[in-house]
Structure formats: structure tokens, C-alpha cells
């Protein structure tokens, strides 16, 4: 299994990175990248494994961040104590959006999730509980120092990525891929496609929500501006670029997408234009991404 060594190597790089460069700026970029990896791993479950295009994925990120932030600031809770509530709320969000729409064709689902993402953002923008356009601030940190927080993030994200990978190899994961390849055949073979798709949705929502908690802790503030369609598109870009359904690919894709803008600061005006063109180019030339998922079934 090459993937295991790749995973260990990646984790090692992530753990050693602060020894190379531990300026506050570098740490914050690396922490953001790690959180972004978690988002991409979550979206990969939905899009990569199950083939359901979710264009409003940051909605779950927002739900997690806001739930955690609101509870922590209103009731003076430590962030860790808000996690159970976040889990419940994100699962509910996943069901609320997934249950009525998963019976539809994938392209309808795409646009409904896009609408859902906008609904969450606009709602956060207009409610008093969420602090309106200025958001919530003064969210307590998970741990004190940035370096410690970076390590906590890396560990959580590593577990999340590992979890996603194992889910992908489980019975449920095989059902997801079956649904992606041929929904009708899956149905005919006795896979309860609706339930299986809903499970993918809920798993994706959980990953997104937990990433939201990390995000709230990192910035100690959340505002609607962080949860735009652009963010959803960037996570999707990471999944596509890395290779849909491939865990190591998606991790690489996410790191590239989150670090690249820092490297390409000078190209600011063309950055997102480039993203768009790259999306098209990848779909035309290399739809399986940089590090494609190798079909294990075919190898045996």
C-alpha cells in the first residue's frame, strides 16, 4: 500500500514544518492549509466517493464555525464543550438539505446546494445572534500558543483524513462508489441508494462542521465574508485538482490550493481567472486529477 507511506510522509512533513519556519505568518498559513485539507477531505466524500456535486459546501463549514462561536461566546464555554452541539447541528443541516433533494438528479442537487450555501450566508448576515455582517469575535482559542494549536490542528486533520480514507474502503464506501458509477445498477443490486447518499452527505457535513470549529478557534472570530461561494468553489477545485475520490490526491490538491495564493500574491487579479481556466483544463485533459484514485478492484 503506497498510500500508507504517502500518508505517513505527509504527516511527517506537516509535523516538521514548524521547525523549518515558525514565524507567525508561516504558522497561520500552515494552520489554514491544514483546515483546508480537512474541508477537502470532507467534500471528497460527497463529490469524490459518491459523485454528488455540492456547490455550497462551505455552508457546513459556516454552520460548524457559527454554532461553536455562538455557544462559546454566549455561554462562556470552552470550545471543546461546543463540539457535541456542533456535531448535532451539522448532522441536522446535512439532513435538512440532503433529505428533500437527494432524490433529484445530480445537477439539480448542485444548484440547490449552491442556493443553500447562499441561504446560510445571508441568514448569518441578517440575524442578531450571529452578529450580522461583522460576525462574532472573542471566540476562545482551543489551546494557547499558535504552535500548539498548529499541532492540535494537524493531529485532528490527520485523524479526519485517515477516517475519510477508511470510510472510503468500508462497505459503505464501496456502496458510495457504486452509486457514483451507476446508480441504477446499484439500486438493482440492493443498495439503498437514497440512504447511502444521505450518509455521504452527513459525513461530508460532519467533516465540514468540525473544520469550522478549528477555523473559529484559529481566527477567534467568524463573519459571513468567510463563507462565500468562492470558498466552496476553491474546495471543489482542490478536490478536482487532486483527483476526485483519491485521498492522497485531495490532500495534495488542498495544500496546493491553499498555499498557491500566498506564493502568487503578485498575480492577484488573475488568480481566480486562472482557477477557472484550470478547472476547465483539468476536466478536458486530465479529469482524474494529479493523483488519481487507482481502482483497487481492477488490480485484483
Amino acid at each position: 500500500m503506497g498510500n500508507r507511506w504517502a500518508g505517513l510522509g505527509g504527516l511527517l512533513v506537516a509535523l516538521l514544518a514548524p521547525f523549518v519556519n515558525a514565524t507567525p505568518y508561516a504558522l497561520s498559513v500552515m494552520t489554514s492549509a491544514a483546515i483546508f485539507v480537512m474541508l477537502a477531505a470532507g467534500l471528497n466524500i460527497v463529490v469524490g466517493y459518491c459523485g454528488l456535486l455540492d456547490l455550497g459546501y462551505v455552508a457546513f463549514f459556516a454552520v460548524g464555525a457559527y454554532t461553536s462561536g455562538v455557544l462559546a461566546t454566549r455561554f462562556d464555554l470552552p470550545l471543546l464543550a461546543t463540539v457535541p452541539a456542533v456535531l448535532v447541528v451539522t448532522v441536522l443541516a446535512g439532513i435538512v438539505i440532503g433529505a428533500p433533494t437527494l432524490r433529484l438528479r445530480s445537477d439539480y442537487l448542485a444548484i440547490v446546494t449552491l442556493g443553500f450555501g447562499e441561504i446560510i450566508r445571508i441568514t448569518a448576515n441578517n440575524l442578531d445572534v450571529t452578529g450580522g455582517p461583522s460576525g462574532i469575535y472573542g471566540i476562545p482559542h482551543l489551546v494557547g500558543s499558535p504552535v500548539a494549536f498548529y499541532y492540535v490542528t494537524v493531529v485532528v486533520v490527520a485523524l479526519a483524513v485517515l477516517g475519510a480514507a477508511r470510510l472510503g474502503r468500508s462497505r459503505l464506501g464501496r456502496a458510495w462508489r457504486f452509486v457514483r458509477e451507476d446508480e441504477d445498477a446499484a439500486e438493482a443490486m440492493g443498495v439503498h441508494t437514497y440512504r447511502v447518499k444521505l450518509a455521504a452527505y452527513i459525513a461530508g457535513a460532519l467533516w465540514g462542521g468540525l473544520a469550522g470549529v478549528l477555523f473559529a478557534s484559529q481566527l477567534s472570530a467568524v463573519s459571513p465574508g468567510s463563507f462565500t461561494f468562492l470558498q466552496s468553489a476553491l474546495v471543489l477545485m482542490a478536490v478536482v485538482l487532486g483527483g476526485m475520490g483519491s485521498v492522497p490526491g485531495v490532500v495534495v490538491g488542498a495544500v496546493v490550493i491553499s498555499i498557491l495564493p500566498e506564493v502568487l500574491r503578485d498575480l492577484a487579479d488573475y488568480r481566480f481567472f486562472l482557477f477557472g481556466v484550470l478547472l476547465i483544463a483539468f476536466m478536458l485533459l486530465r479529469p482524474q486529477g494529479i493523483w488519481p484514485a487507482r481502482s483497487q478492484e481492477a488490480l485484483r
Partner: protein
């Protein structure tokens, strides 16, 4: 009350115009063209550029000039739509739907941020502004220009309907929508017809863009994103792929928004719209006038 209805119909006619392109493209190749809203944006900017090139205009000439610009813009956005299909969508026609959708998202991004790189991030003020005198009928206040814009929109839609139902071209489009392979066997040049469908749909979106620019007075590179979503909602309400349904859906969405804004306040308008979309897809995914299609055979 009448004012709300009028506002709704006015905005609704824009929605309908943009939604038609969505609906036509979906009807013929079953693709959600995410970049469609951005063609509307492109139209607004193309009109802006042409008006700028023409130079100063006296306000008495504003309306005829605007109509001329409208025609030129429609050609420009129509060609842009054809190019988009050629470069981004045609090579993927046999690929999985997911790839096609992602390509469309990419195209939308490329158009938005490409325009941002060219024209800058700040909103531009339209050189021609249709203010005009207002008049009152049944307690609703509106301007002659608004009336003209609605008139143009209705004329364009009527023309489209004629094209689709009465001409050879329209018959070819409907044939391909039903069964592309058989149409090809019957001697229809499928690629050419799809190209022309993109042309017509994109031209309508461009026309709506110019009209919106002249009416609202301000344009920016992100203006297509929201209207794209709304147009899709309109298409779904009426029945996507169904042309009269889409027009009806546009007007209905305009009315819904107008009343929704009145009841809930402007800040909740878009939440209301997308809520309606989700509700509609749950209850009646084929829309008001769409036929019930069983997907699995």
C-alpha cells in the same frame, strides 16, 4: 399593491429573459450552464464598452441608440456563448455529467474573474441612464422607459417562441432535445444546431444584461452570479426545458420576490427565493408546466 405587481412583472421579465437561455440549453443537451449568468454580465459590459466607444449621447437619442447597442451586444454575447460551448462543453458531451458541471463552474469563474482583470473590480456606472418621467396607472408608478424595456423583453420572447415552434430550425432543436442520435441519423447537423441554440440563449442573456445596465445604472463583474441562480430558479418553477413555462416562471418569481420583499424585508429576499427553489424541487421537480418524466426506465 399594484405597485408590487408592477415591480414584480418588471423584474420578472428580466429573469424570464435570462432563464430562457438556461432552459433552452438544458432542454437540448441536459446541461446546467452555470456560466449563463455570466453571459448576462458579459452583455452588460459589452454594451458598456460600445456605448463608451460611441461617445456622448444626447438624452433624446438615448432610446434608439440603446436599441442599436442591444442588437450589437446580442451578437457579441451570442458568439461568446458559441465559443464557450465549442471550447468547454462540446469535448465533454460524452463525459460523465459531473465533469461537465465542474467545467461549467470553471467557465463561470473564468468569465467573472477574466472580466474583473479586464475591467477592474469596482462597479461601473452606465453611460446611458433611463430615468425618464414617471406616470401613474391604477396607483402604480412606472416610467415610459420601463415600459419600453418590458416591451423589448416580451418581443424577444415572442420571437423566440416563434423560432422554436414555427421554423425548421426550431423543429431541429426539438428533435435533438428528444433524441440526438436519431436526429443525427435523420440528417440534422446536431453540433450546428446546438451551437445555434447557445447563440440564441446567450444573445437573450446579453440583451437582458444591457437592459439591466441601462435601468439600474451600475454594473460589476459579479452581477451575473446571483441572476444566474435566480434565472435557474425561474426556469425550475416554470418547468426547465419548457419555453412558455420558463417565461411564466420568470414572471412568477418576480412577483414572488416583490411580495416577499414587502412582507419579509429586502434583506431576506434572496433567502426567500432559494427557499422557493428548494420547495419547488421537493414538491414538483418538473415545474408548473413541465411534464412528469420518469427517469428510470
Amino acid at each position: 399593491m399594484t405597485q408590487l405587481v408592477w415591480n414584480g412583472l418588471f423584474v420578472g421579465s428580466f429573469y424570464a429573459l435570462v432563464a430562457l437561455g438556461y432552459s433552452m440549453v438544458y432542454g437540448i443537451i441536459k446541461l446546467l450552464n452555470f456560466a449563463h449568468g455570466d453571459l448576462y454580465m458579459l452583455g452588460a459590459f459589452a454594451g458598456f464598452a460600445i456605448l463608451g466607444a460611441v461617445g456622448g449621447v444626447s438624452s433624446s437619442m438615448a432610446l434608439p441608440l440603446l436599441l442599436a447597442v442591444l442588437v450589437v451586444t446580442m451578437v457579441v454575447t451570442g458568439l461568446a456563448g458559441v465559443a464557450l460551448e465549442r471550447i468547454a462543453y462540446r469535448p465533454l458531451r460524452r463525459a460523465p455529467r459531473l465533469s461537465l458541471l465542474i467545467t461549467a463552474v470553471g467557465a463561470s469563474f473564468a468569465l467573472e474573474y477574466g472580466m474583473r482583470a479586464v475591467a477592474g473590480a469596482d462597479p461601473r456606472v452606465y453611460p446611458v441612464r433611463l430615468g425618464g418621467t414617471s406616470m401613474e396607472v391604477f396607483g402604480a408608478r412606472f416610467t415610459v422607459q420601463q415600459l419600453v424595456l418590458v416591451g423589448v423583453a416580451v418581443a424577444l420572447m415572442a420571437g423566440l417562441n416563434l423560432l422554436v415552434t414555427r421554423t425548421r430550425e426550431g423543429r431541429a432543436m426539438r428533435a435533438i432535445a428528444l433524441d440526438p442520435r436519431t436526429s443525427a441519423l435523420m440528417g440534422i447537423d446536431v453540433n450546428a444546431v446546438i451551437s445555434r441554440t447557445f447563440f440564441v440563449g446567450s444573445a437573450l442573456a446579453g440583451a437582458a444584461g444591457v437592459m439591466a445596465g441601462a435601468y439600474y445604472g451600475k454594473i460589476d463583474f459579479m452581477m451575473g452570479f446571483l441572476i444566474g441562480l435566480k434565472a435557474f430558479t425561474a426556469a425550475v418553477i416554470g418547468g426547465i426545458g419548457n419555453i412558455p413555462g420558463t417565461m411564466l416562471g420568470g414572471l412568477l418569481l418576480g412577483l414572488l420576490e416583490s411580495f416577499g420583499t414587502f412582507w419579509l424585508g429586502g434583506e431576506w429576499r434572496d433567502v426567500f427565493t432559494f427557499g422557493v427553489l428548494i420547495l419547488f424541487l421537493t414538491v414538483r421537480p418538473t415545474g408548473l408546466l413541465g411534464e412528469r418524466v420518469t427517469e428510470r426506465v
